[in-house]
């Protein structure tokens, strides 16, 4: 039965996820511990003395053996306690709960733009392969992939924010304060991210559509007199759905990682900002917490995609 099969898939994936989670957080923890400098010096502040620094290390357990520190973090994490930031004292879960929606809004917006523009472009290019339109779209796509997204962000800020004042140059507004202001702040960053996405989507869709459209079943349909448009819509897209799903999943994961630099340009308090600051100040609990959450998100996305595959294409198991 399809349902129980899906349940099995879910369970197997979740089981596979556990070692990945542990490994990822362990690797990060290990690397951060290898880095010179620790947060005790920052915490001791302006009137630091050797004695005070040692005191702080003892206070926060920073001088315990490596495995003990990791073990105790892991034990808490699986119970849902992501502990507190060493630098600010705020609960890591609270910081993440505040930062994640900001990042998610931009990523979702960027993906929507990428799909909204990329899909029609891909279809346009595939409708007449090697034609003028195809070449233009392919060139635009190459440009989109090659452009550094933080440069694009800078250009957008310079042209659309600083000069004209149409959009805010910095910051993010939480959704709680209203969809309008939140979107207004998120548009420019999303556009900066979307460029690469548009390129990927249009390119992948084009190539898979071209493959489908020249396949024997479709050629038969053409011979029977069906218009190219109808074929594109009914048969092309549905079959390309699987490929599109793959692209979307990969895109989501890539965008999640790419927001870091864009968040820096726009001073957005999102996940990227959170983890970069924490890594730079050696605020281990925050880094661990963010890595944990991001890996969970990626695993969930992949799992959802796998389940959607089975819906879209019954041949796939």
């Amino acid at each position: 039965m399809a349902a129980s099969h899906r349940l099995r898939v879910i369970r197997r994936r979740l089981l596979q996820a556990v070692p990945v989670l542990v490994l990822a957080t362990f690797v990060v923890f290990g690397l951060l511990k290898l880095m010179p400098g620790d947060i005790a010096i920052t915490l001791a502040g302006e009137n630091a003395t050797e004695q005070r620094i040692a005191e702080i290390r003892a206070l926060y357990g920073l001088d315990r053996p490596f495995l003990v520190q990791y073990g105790s973090w892991l034990a808490n994490a699986v119970q849902g306690d992501l502990s507190k930031s060493l630098a600010t004292g705020e609960k890591v879960a609270t910081s993440i709960a505040r930062a994640f929606p900001n990042t998610l809004l931009i990523v979702v917006l960027a993906m929507s733009v990428a799909l909204a523009i990329g899909v029609p472009l891909g279809m346009l290019a595939a409708s007449r392969p090697d034609g003028a339109r195809d070449r233009i779209v392919t060139s635009v796509a190459s440009l989109g992939i090659a452009v550094p997204n933080f440069w694009l962000a800078m250009l957008l800020v310079a042209w659309l924010a600083l000069g004209t004042g149409w959009f805010p140059a910095t910051g993010a507004k939480p959704l709680a304060e209203g969809l309008g202001p939140a979107l207004h702040h998120a548009i420019l960053p999303a556009l900066a991210l979307a460029a690469g996405g548009v390129a990927e989507v249009s390119r992948q869709l084009r190539s898979s559509l071209v493959e489908i459209l020249s396949s024997p079943p479709v050629r038969t349909l053409r011979a029977k007199g069906l218009s190219p448009a109808a074929i594109l819509w009914k048969h092309g897209l549905k079959n390309a759905g699987v490929n599109l799903l793959t692209v979307t999943t990969l895109l989501f994961n890539r965008l999640l990682a790419a927001t870091v630099v864009v968040e820096a340009v726009f001073a957005i308090p999102g996940m990227g900002n959170l983890i970069v600051n924490a890594a730079l100040t050696r605020d281990l609990p925050v880094v661990q917490g963010v890595v944990f959450v991001m890996v969970l998100v990626v695993i969930t996305i992949n799992l959802t995609a796998d389940l959607l595959y089975t819906v879209l294409d019954p041949r796939i198991k």
């Binding site: 550094p148 870091v260 970069v276 890595v291 990626v298």
Partner: protein, 277 residues
């Protein structure tokens, strides 16, 4: 071989142009000390943020240094950075991928889990952690990027190795007592070359962008040496005062990445005859 290569170039104009561009860039980079009219650190505090002129082809930056000279030297640094990152990625990813794909079983499982873990969390954190452990600098930053790339290469190579492993001639070689290492070297590796070459050109572009991002965050090249990414970071600082400072380095990165990508795409099509264009 050489004839085929030139035939390929003649057929694909875009690939030819890209290659020419990249070669010109390499020459520029290698001859940087000869071409750059000023030393990269020569400051002229009375002439900051100047517009392009005969004395300064691309104007001056916020400390009065010649932008053109910094662009040329920066190009050298950037190309070095890309090559290093991809080199490290290959060095780490190739053997791991080969081993995983060829061995199968629990070794493959273990390695694949590890690769999944590395792929699933934000690469920038890995880069920060590695540069933190090794120290900030262009070389260390690119080693970090190389480590980030290695799972992708490993995955690609593993997939090919899995296929090749089934081939009859490999079985035959095994029967004849060839060691694993020899089989990997003589039979499996050559068959992974084509997709790897394509991936390498694409990764060169990605490394370029990664270097720019790291330098933008202050984690790449050390001052006062220039790289295109660090020049962009400086331009961001001065965005209101002199927005035109961001065009030169940004365009340079864009065009170079574009050239790598175009070359890669063309190679992919040329090397794999079954790909429908």
């Amino acid at each position: 071989m050489v004839n085929r290569f030139f035939a390929f170039l003649r057929r694909d104009l875009r690939a030819a142009v890209s290659l020419a561009f990249l070669l010109a860039l390499c020459v520029l980079a290698l001859c940087a000390p000869l071409i750059a009219p000023y030393p990269v650190t020569a400051q002229d505090v009375d002439n900051t943020l100047a517009a392009p002129s005969a004395a300064h082809l691309l104007g001056t930056d916020d400390l009065g240094r010649d932008v053109f000279s910094r662009m040329v030297h920066g190009g050298a640094a950037t190309l070095y950075a890309s090559s290093l990152a991809v080199g490290i990625g290959l060095l780490l990813g190739l053997p791991v991928g080969l081993l995983a794909g060829y061995s199968g079983g629990w070794l493959d499982d273990g390695i694949s889990r590890f690769i999944d873990a590395l792929l699933s969390f934000p690469s920038i954190v890995l880069a920060i952690a590695v540069t933190g452990a090794l120290g900030i600098g262009l070389t260390n930053g690119m080693i970090a990027v190389g480590i980030v790339f290695s799972p992708q290469i490993a995955r690609l190579v593993r997939a090919r190795a899995l296929v090749v492993r089934q081939e009859l001639y490999v079985d035959a070689a095994r029967c004849f007592g060839a060691s694993t290492a020899r089989i990997l070297w003589r039979h499996v590796l050559p068959n992974t070359v084509q997709p790897v070459i394509v991936q390498v050109t694409l990764l060169l572009a990605a490394a370029l962008l990664a270097e720019a991002s790291l330098s933008f965050l202050g984690l790449g090249i050390q001052p006062p040496q220039p790289s295109w990414g660090s020049m962009l970071a400086r331009a961001y600082q001065n965005m209101e005062l002199a927005p035109e400072q961001m065009y030169a380095p940004g365009l340079a990165i864009l065009l170079t990445a574009l050239a790598f990508n175009t070359l890669g795409e063309s190679l992919r099509v040329a090397l794999d005859p079954t790909t429908k264009r």
